[in-house]
């Protein structure tokens, strides 16, 4: 092990418990020594274990796969598990919970509730003609390119970072968000889904859907999975506007 001391970093966290009668939003600064390869996952776990066992935040996979740990880091929403402290030369990180979602406590927000509602709203599942598939028989063939295209859009991890980045969300609380539109784009490509453009129009063909987007591009800028959100939103908008 290297004996060289790491630099001192400051992690400033907005703490607030909306379920407490006495809690008020306030910042707490934690100073700790940086270790090689330290991510916000490592730093926050250390803070909880050594300085503040009361600090609330969410991690599951700690590998950028599950989308649990979205938070606002120095003004930008990001996955905390993939945020390397070394990328912040000033050594100070200010952490806030993501906006647009219900606050649970401190850095923890209720993305699950929001995403379930979104999924139900855009009917985020295969809508077929109602026939049961005989699973003992050969599977339906899918062109490998189409399967790849579907997969590209299926990579969304519902971290909520696009939602927290979205200007329209701030003005329209019922906005379906980039994640919802991406979901529609995903099922539109999937040959198993028998819905038509008209069916999708019914779901998102209004100002709370595809026509509400202001094309500010922050969703795509911040998406940790690099999904082509703006392209897909523009494509859907052209396709759906042509229907009316």
């Amino acid at each position: 092990m290297s004996v060289e001391k790491g630099r001192e970093i400051t992690i400033s966290v907005l703490k607030f418990n909306p379920r407490s009668a006495v809690s008020k939003p306030h910042y707490v600064d934690y100073k700790l020594e940086e270790t090689p390869g330290m991510t916000l996952f490592i730093a926050l776990m250390k803070i909880r274990e050594e300085y503040d066992p009361d600090l609330s935040f969410d991690f599951v996979c700690r590998a950028g796969i599950c989308g649990s740990c979205g938070m606002v880091v120095n003004g930008k929403p990001a996955l905390a598990c993939r945020t390397l402290i070394a990328n912040y030369p000033e050594g100070k990180l200010t952490l806030l919970p993501m906006p647009a979602f219900e606050l649970i406590k401190d850095l923890s927000v209720n993305t699950g509730k929001w995403m379930d509602a979104m999924s139900k709203r855009v009917e985020s599942w295969i809508v077929d003609n109602g026939e049961e598939t005989d699973i003992a028989k050969m599977e339906e063939r899918v062109d490998p390119d189409i399967a790849d295209q579907t997969f590209e859009l299926d990579r969304c991890i519902e971290c909520g970072i696009c939602v927290a980045s979205c200007g329209t969300m701030l003005m329209r609380p019922n906005f379906v968000g980039p994640v919802g539109m991406n979901r529609v784009a995903r099922f539109e490509v999937d040959p198993h889904d028998k819905r038509t453009a008209e069916d999708f129009y019914e779901l998102i063909g209004d100002d709370d859907g595809i026509f509400g987007c202001m094309s500010l591009l922050a969703c795509e800028d911040h998406c940790p999975k690099h999904l082509p959100l703006q392209n897909k939103i523009a494509y859907l908008r052209r396709k759906l506007v042509a229907l009316r």
Partner: protein
């Protein structure tokens, strides 16, 4: 007291739990799935490499079938598995994958024509037939005869999880997240549901159901170095253990994966090696062929992990601030392949280690070291998934010891098990719920809830000097050091003693904040004692088992001992005041096996203490096979004569294949 009634209660919202939930809901039962986290964040999402199912679509998997998958699984298990269950599994897996395809999982598909692949570090051309174009593709994984692992790039678990979760939403399964089961409600040998804590409000609620199915995943977090998500703490197994009635099976069977990246422990999928990646030592030398000339990097995981550590012990590890490691080289696969099929692997290397694994030569090599990965042990069940002792309690997925993995599981068989067990056990579970009523007085429910309520108050009132985080860290380090890849009697005995001490110390802690809501330290304080009980089952089971089988490797007992240890370890916790589990055994019956114990085909030869019944049964099997073949019977009829098995629904139907004659 708030009581939530439903027909079918599923605890755990990963692939297994959600699929079981769909099965119950589809049979018309009101079904609730409880999950610690939003279900699409479950650890199932982390499965990168793929799902084994013997479709036999692509060139390299042509001719695959259930028999080959069965044989690989039994060998992989080092003959520790339940062969009935393995048969049920391999027969349903092709159906599961086809069902998932119809639910929208965008499996990577076969493309007709030629492509380059790396096999045994050499570029090879594979040509796919035109009549297979568009069928589900598969890749190579360790310990399998054919390329059988179906995949979506390296995000298989993610796409499967979203497919199944979306299907659950479609069928209106009542999914409730941020809910933690604290105990099971049970009386007179029957389970009636669970006492549950809402992780947002802190409120305790009772869930009363006709049947309860635990699908909470593995217990990797009792170890320090693990590929598991932070929620994989084995609590589902622990609350089953704490009933004092249900038992846990084979808890000492813990798998270590060869290639998590150092130091974060994030997994680089077996797909890396399956696609042709190789392991190198400090000199850049590819060492696996020296140890395993036949299967090389693609021997089973237990074997590869041990060979790596062995090679490091021989002084060939790469020194680093985090200890010695081995290199994983996938650069030989070419940038194009990596950027398409191993993109998450590339991202993990880039983000967490600043390496681009597509860079040629040493620059692109990733530091890897075996770490805890999978829990073969879990809640012991019958082939229907029901607990052997506690009626109405079912378990499926990694939380269960349904036991198709025995003492080592093959890559691609776990994510496959989640949905296959979800289908099979989910249906048996639903049938149980249809056939049984709830007959429990609310006073019994109230008592179970009051007990958990009082326990939380008791924890907050502890006034000792110990720290729950330190106890947890000590447990994790101890498990790594003494209950790891290489084990011996002395280390295991020390581990059992110290874990017992740590369990006692969990009552001598002091929780700083006395809040009942939003208090992470309180949550640790009630979880860690349960984790310690699980850890004690692992360590004590390991201490008693004086042989090496699959992933359980004793340096003081190097041979697999079929004469004395062809059995399953059962651990129970009969009294709350106990500080150690009670260990008993369940024998495996060679004379009913379709495949009696033999050499696995990889690892060292001659390391078996034979059971005399193996040869006897083998002769029986051979004679019957020969006779039936002479009579012109097909492989299905022969299999049925050797070891008949049953399945729910129409899952017993034959699987159609492109290669059918």
């Amino acid at each position: 007291m708030k009581i939530n009634y439903c027909d079918a209660l599923v605890i755990g919202g990963g692939l297994a739990g959600l699929r079981a939930g769909v099965a119950a809901q589809k049979k018309g039962l009101s079904t609730i799935v409880l999950s610690l986290v939003p279900v699409k964040r479950s650890h199932s999402a982390a499965a990168q490499g793929g799902m084994q199912a013997s479709l036999g679509n692509s060139k390299m998997s042509d001719g695959d079938n259930e028999d080959l998958h069965f044989a690989d699984t039994v060998k992989g298990s080092d003959w520790g598995c339940d062969q009935d269950v393995a048969r049920m599994f391999v027969h349903t897996a092709p159906k599961a994958i086809r069902e998932l395809a119809s639910w929208g999982v965008p499996w990577t598909r076969v493309r007709e024509g030629s492509r380059e692949a790396v096999i045994n570090a050499k570029k090879t051309t594979i040509t796919e037939d035109a009549d297979r174009h568009g069928l589900i593709m598969s890749r190579d994984f360790g310990g399998t005869k054919k390329w059988r692992t179906c995949y979506t790039a390296d995000a298989t678990g993610h796409t499967m999880l979203f497919g199944v979760a979306n299907e659950a939403l479609k069928h209106d399964v009542d999914i409730r997240d941020r809910k933690e089961a604290l105990s099971l409600i049970h009386e007179d040998g029957r389970c009636y549901g669970s006492i549950v804590r809402d992780l947002i409000t802190g409120e305790l609620e009772a869930y009363v159901a006709k049947g309860t199915c635990i699908a909470t995943g593995g217990y990797g977090r009792v170890f320090k170095q693990t590929t598991n998500a932070v929620i994989c703490e084995g609590i589902g197994a622990a609350i089953a253990l704490e009933t004092g009635v249900a038992t846990l099976g084979n808890m000492e069977a813990v798998q270590f994966h060869p290639t998590p990246i150092v130091p974060s422990g994030i997994l680089l999928t077996e797909g890396c090696r399956g696609d042709g990646g190789i392991l190198r030592d400090v000199d850049g030398h590819r060492f696996m062929p020296d140890y395993e000339p036949e299967k090389k990097e693609l021997a089973s995981r237990d074997v590869v992990s041990r060979r790596m550590i062995e090679h490091i012990r021989n002084g060939k590890g790469v020194p680093s601030p985090y200890g010695d490691h081995i290199w994983l080289d996938i650069s030989i696969l070419g940038r194009e392949h990596i950027e398409k099929n191993l993109r998450d692997v590339q991202e993990i290397c880039q983000i967490f280690n600043g390496i681009d694994p597509a860079d040629e030569g040493k620059k692109g090599w990733a530091p890897v070291l075996p770490m805890q990965h999978y829990s073969m042990g879990g809640i012991r069940t019958k082939p229907t998934g029901e607990s052997q002792n506690l009626s109405g309690l079912f378990a499926c997925g990694e939380a269960a010891c349904w036991d198709m993995h025995g003492f080592n599981r093959l890559g691609g068989n776990s994510v496959s098990e989640t949905v296959v067990a979800g289908m099979i056990i989910g249906n048996y579970f639903a049938d149980y719920c249809l056939a049984n009523d709830v007959t429990i007085p609310t006073a019994t429910v109230q008592k179970a809830l009051d007990k958990q309520d009082a326990y939380l108050d008791e924890i907050l009132a502890y006034n000792g000097t110990e720290d729950i985080f330190r106890i947890k860290n000590r447990m994790q380090n101890l498990m790594d050091q003494k209950v790891g890849i290489f084990r011996d009697g002395t280390g295991l005995a020390e581990a059992v003693d110290e874990l017992e001490e740590l369990l006692k110390k969990t009552k001598q802690i002091n929780v700083k904040s006395k809040e009942r809501v939003g208090n992470p330290e309180l949550e640790e304080a009630y979880r860690v004692p349960r984790m310690l009980k699980v850890a004690l089952c692992v360590a004590k089971g390991g201490r008693e088992r004086t042989e090496s089988r699959g992933a359980h490797y004793r340096e003081d007992y190097l041979k697999r001992d079929d004469a004395n240890w062809l059995n399953r370890t059962l651990t129970s916790w009969p009294s709350e005041d106990d500080t150690q589990p009670t260990v008993t055994y369940e024998d495996l019956d060679i004379m009913t096996m379709e495949m009696p114990p033999a050499f696995r085909g990889y690892g060292a030869k001659g390391m078996i203490i034979e059971n005399e019944l193996s040869a006897k049964r083998q002769e029986e099997v051979d004679t019957l096979k020969e006779k039936m073949e002479a009579e012109g019977k097909d492989r299905h009829e022969i299999q049925d004569a050797l070891m008949p098995f049953s399945l729910p629904m129409n899952y017993k139907e034959k699987n159609e294949r492109a290669g059918d004659k």
